[in-house]
Symmetry: C2
Subunit: 142 residues, 2 copies
């Protein structure tokens, strides 16, 4: 179910276990959100890599920085010739030129989120970019 | 533990349950990654909102689009006067001008990721931006 209204788009994917049903260019468990939600500042994929599987090639990027956030499971991350273990709460920023790949361990599926955004494109965030409003949600009423 | 090398930064936060120990301007359970990891294309926060708690005010943004990804728990999302239930796998894009807030239900903590990136800043992604390389990780050797 995807609902599109002027200023927002919402989708309820449901439990992340269902990600294995998704497919991107033969990569099972890869689900891109950009086109579905109408994102214009970043591209985001939700991923569930089956146990024992790994990316079959190393890649870099032209303009985009990537951030990987591991949600569940365990695996190995490769970047610029180094390899290190990853699991829930592993956070990896990779600059465009970083050479990267990853794999799941043999015993559990690896769940992670990958965010791509153009390196250097963010000029302000959070307190500088946010605007507090007088509008009230239902739980803010007296 | 934060490790910084030229092209990447990695941190292992560990289980997301530990997020409640983090604090941002009095908001318990809010953990920003941008400065920690050196992000230049987006700002990302990991969040664990305690059961029964809600944002005390509605806000919008000046330049940044936001994407909310709900990981666990359940709650309510408010945007532009509408309210709808959220839970694992709820994905909400909000344009800068969208008026937004959220709360956790009374029975379980709400875990979510919020990504801020400048609206309109992404010019290419994935197949257009990625470059396949001859480099090999350990599991790609014959």
């Amino acid at each position: 179910m995807t609902t599109t209204v002027t200023t927002y788009t919402a989708e309820h994917l449901g439990p992340f276990e269902s990600l294995l049903e998704k497919d991107f260019m033969g990569f099972h468990g890869k689900y891109f959100l950009g086109e579905r939600l109408g994102l214009t500042g970043c591209e985001v994929s939700l991923n569930r890599l089956p146990a024992g599987k790994g990316m079959p090639f190393v890649h870099s990027h032209k303009k985009n920085e990537e951030l990987y956030i591991v949600l569940r499971g365990s695996g190995t991350f490769f970047v610029d010739g180094e390899e290190f273990p990853i699991g829930e709460g592993s956070l990896i920023r990779v600059a465009p030129e970083g050479e990267r790949a990853w794999r799941a361990t043999d015993t559990e599926d690896l769940y992670f989120i990958c965010i791509q955004a153009q390196a250097g494109s963010l000029c302000q965030a959070t307190l500088e970019d946010g605007v507090r409003l007088p509008t009230k949600a239902s739980w803010m009423m007296d």
